[in-house]
Amino acid sequence: MDHTIFSDLESESIEIIREVAATAAKPVMLYSIGKDSSVMLRLAQKAFYPGPIPFPLMHIDTGWKFREMIAFRDLTAKEIGFELITYTNQRGVAEGVGPITHGSAYHTDVMKTEALKQALDLHRFDVAFGGARRDEEKSRAKERIFSFRAPGHRWEPKAQRPELWNLYNTRINGGETIRVFPLSNWTEADIWAYIRQENIPIVPLYFAAKRPVVKRFDQWIMVDDDRLPLEPGEKPQMRMVRFRTLGCYPLTAAIESNATTLDEIVAETLGATTSERQGRIIDHDGAGSMERKKQEGYF
């Protein structure tokens, strides 16, 4: 991969990020700590260089993120010096909602979707950046770069605005919001190649290492702490694994891999025979499940 791809993708993303800064009343960048967020963060730094990023970053903490992710988040915020907001749905905490006790669908609904809506309302953010890419999933392929949300954060596929040229309509009425996806036209391979080219720091979980895992439904689930109840007779085993995508820990499966450097990860990604979302248990609820979640306000 040479430089010109990134010039095109990078320039488009920077243009999108600047457009929001120039037009939104109170924008925020959603920061999920994953590789896409890391790329988005680097693009935001470049967009406003030599100035600081002129909006806060916000992490919706479900309470079930890998410990290494939280440590990485706090270190990154300190090193770069951006304003970091974290938010957890206290109703969910009070009810003890978690993926193991309540199932993945309910957990995601309360601790991610509902939490996000609460946080946006609390801070009155009118525009929120997300790191979603169109190549991730079928219903994302039709998503606008500027995705309009009706009051209550609902995504209505039929109410989306036509998006011509690089002219983004950022006008909204009270109660309406916009989700903006600067990485829309990036693919997974682009993300990895850019991380390598730019030497962008990422959570160590992306690199293969010996980690304690158990096999569930044919997937490797990492035992990050003692909150994961083991089946009778089940014993965590040490395996060389890494993550292609990071989410809540029992909901994100690891893959067996020996890729310990960015070069090896890029090579593995280009030769991959399964999509990265395969490790996301959320998408397996059936065709159209992502589309349904989005209509309810998920990213």
């Binding site: 100035g51 011509l164 040229w165 309509n169």
Partner: protein
């Protein structure tokens, strides 16, 4: 390796989704888990029997999958060792013209699908015109389903000749015809040697890998709209934007439009590093040597080729809303980074997208295209769309709903823009009003037919006259019988009716009078237009608020009865909307308050 953005057009029946699915599959962009899902989906919804239905890979939204149609623009990604591709997959039916234009607006090339059994159809011509209008110069004509015409060269040749004859008027630089079968995979990735040995040209993928991807803007003089002024502290000021044409180096002299100020480029920042050159398409931050002023929406250009500014244009307009375009109505617009208020002052003619014919028309409906004159409320830096897309494209936005309702492409500036100057007169409005011992005002009464507008207006004028004020009433009767005799009651005519009345009221206020306008004026947008003509505090909106049932009960002119019988069309409150004011200066609830008391309220406000 560069990136090619291309568009595929054609109907589901032409095998478009199958073609894209095939390209993704053959370039190994389909993962095993997606293939598993495809197998399951093929059994459930597939139309290919036991075979994989590639169309299901790309038809995204659930509703579309179930109905078997593609209703939106979907973007797909694949790469070969030579190029990276972004495919805009757009629907083909006439009601989706806007979706196709959306896909075409960012594409550098187009693949037009033709069903070999059907040849060049009306829809092929429609797709070609849209592609041409949006400025795409390279097209591939993929004659698909060759398997169903026995791989016949004669059929292919006839279609090709037919198409080239038609496309002469469209200004494409290259047209490449390729016989193919997306279902069987012939001439998609590799050239087919077996079924169609008579074809010696490129396969579709070979064409995609070699068609020119560079924008023609690259070779032009430097231009860049200012998108964001980067001013983190007093020591740094940079102008950020994406270069719309040409290239820039430190030391170049630039001129800012519309101010005309010149300076020299001190630094070119690309991301977080200094560059020795930046080219069209790159996002940069320019630091200039002088402390010059420029803001978002200004354009920085090479000093020897400055960008022109104007406020009146001829252009092409595609309408994308269910609500028709109304000439004279104010809309919001965005052209490069510049926001403005615009109105369409004249529809020259419609363009029939199927036949290319010029047709007459007073309004513009969903998916219709017209050549129009458009007036901006301020001068904007621009270039003709055919020369510089980024400086010549604009979108039209409804001011109330904020929906994107139109897409425009500038042809040229009208000379009028520079020639008319408002004459500054020495005897001012204040001087005229002062001689009458009053402040000039416009009292704009709005409300349903029969709500009591005229009654209250007449009482008010008598009261003001008795106080020695100089007044005038404009109402439907004295205006519709003369000045606006040529207008009817369609939505478009109503808009024009109000526009003229507002302009007359403005002249009368300029003459120092207190003007009372009593019109139903049902649409917020027109009332806002009227308000915008006056100085702050001069315009007083009076909402005569009488419920529809009460107006209908009074029905002094028998109009409601007629409308209910269907003898009167477009009657406000019956089959035409009334949009009540959201924050009028005066709100008169006539059921609770007698007309004399209403007049008291208004007089009180005028005195305060």
């Amino acid at each position: 390796m560069d990136t090619l953005r291309f568009l595929t057009c054609g109907s589901v029946d032409d095998g478009k989704s199958t073609l894209i699915g095939r390209l993704l599959y053959e370039t190994k962009l389909i993962f095993e888990d997606q293939l598993e899902a495809l197998k399951a989906d093929s059994k459930k919804f597939g139309t290919q029997g036991e075979r994989l239905d590639f169309a299901l890979l790309v038809d995204g939204l659930q509703a579309e999958r179930e109905q078997g149609i593609t209703i939106d623009v979907a973007y797909r990604f694949f790469a070969t060792p030579r190029r990276r591709f972004i495919v805009a997959d757009t629907p083909g039916h006439e009601q989706y013209t806007r979706n196709m234009a959306t896909g075409a607006s960012t594409a550098q090339a187009a693949v037009l699908l033709i069903d070999a059994r059907k040849g060049v159809l009306v829809q092929t011509k429609r797709h070609s015109r849209i592609v041409s209008m949006l400025g795409i110069r390279h097209v591939a004509l993929a004659v698909n389903k060759m398997d169903l015409v026995d791989w016949s060269q004669a059929v292919f040749d006839e279609i090709q000749v037919d198409y080239r004859r038609f496309a002469q008027e469209l200004g494409f630089e290259t047209i490449t015809a390729i016989p193919a079968s997306a279902l069987e995979g012939h001439n998609i990735v590799a050239r087919d040697e077996v079924a169609m040995p008579w074809y010696q040209g490129l396969s579709l993928l070979q064409w995609l890998e070699t068609v020119p991807a560079a924008a023609r803007e690259a070779a032009q003089p430097f231009t860049m709209p200012v998108q964001w002024v980067n001013r983190p502290n007093l020591d740094f000021r940079g102008f950020s934007g994406r270069i719309s044409s040409g290239s820039i180096n430190p030391g170049d002299t630039v001129r800012i439009s519309p101010s005309g100020v010149t300076s020299r480029v001190k630094d070119v920042l690309v991301g977080n590093s200094r560059a020795t050159e930046a080219i069209a398409g790159q996002s940069v931050t320019l630091v200039l040597e002088d402390e010059v002023d420029a803001s978002r929406g200004d354009v920085i250009a090479a000093a020897l080729n400055p960008v022109e500014s104007a406020d009146q244009f001829e252009g092409e307009l595609l309408w994308m809303s269910q609500h028709p375009l109304l000439p004279g109505r104010p809309y919001a617009a965005l052209i490069h980074s510049k926001s403005a208020s615009i109105s369409i002052t004249h529809i020259k003619h419609h363009l029939d997208i199927n036949t290319g014919a010029h047709l007459a028309g007073k309004t513009l409906g969903l998916n219709e295209i017209a050549i129009v004159n458009v007036s901006f409320d301020r001068p904007v830096p621009f270039a003709p769309y055919s020369e510089n897309m980024r400086l010549g494209a604009f979108i039209v936005i409804d001011k109330l709903t904020n929906e994107t309702v139109g897409a425009g492409m500038i042809h040229f500036a009208l000379r009028r823009a520079v020639n008319i100057h408002w004459q500054a007169l020495e005897v001012t409005k204040a001087a005229r009003a002062g001689m009458k011992h009053q402040q000039a005002r416009c009292l704009w009464f709005t409300g349903l037919s029969g709500s009591g507008k005229s009654t209250i207006a007449n009482l008010l004028e008598k009261r003001l006259h008795a106080d020695g004020k100089h007044t005038y009433i404009l109402d439907g009767d004295n205006v519709r019988h003369g000045l606006n005799r040529d207008l009817g009651f369609t939505e478009a005519d109503r808009v024009e009716n109000i526009r003229r009345v507002a302009e007359v009221a403005k002249l009368l206020v300029d003459a120092g009078l207190i003007v009372i306008v009593a019109f139903i004026s049902p649409f917020r947008a027109e009332r806002e237009l009227a308000r915008g003509l006056f100085d702050p505090g001069e315009f007083i909106e009076v909402f005569v608020d009488t419920p529809l049932e009460e107006c209908e009960r009074r029905d002094m002119k028998g109009l409601y009865a007629k409308a209910r019988r269907g003898e009167l069309k477009n009657f406000t409150g019956i089959d035409s909307d009334y949009e009540p004011p959201q924050s009028p200066e005066i709100h008169l609830r006539t059921i609770e308050v007698r007309p004399e008391a209403c007049v008291d309220q208004i007089v009180h406000l005028l005195r305060s």
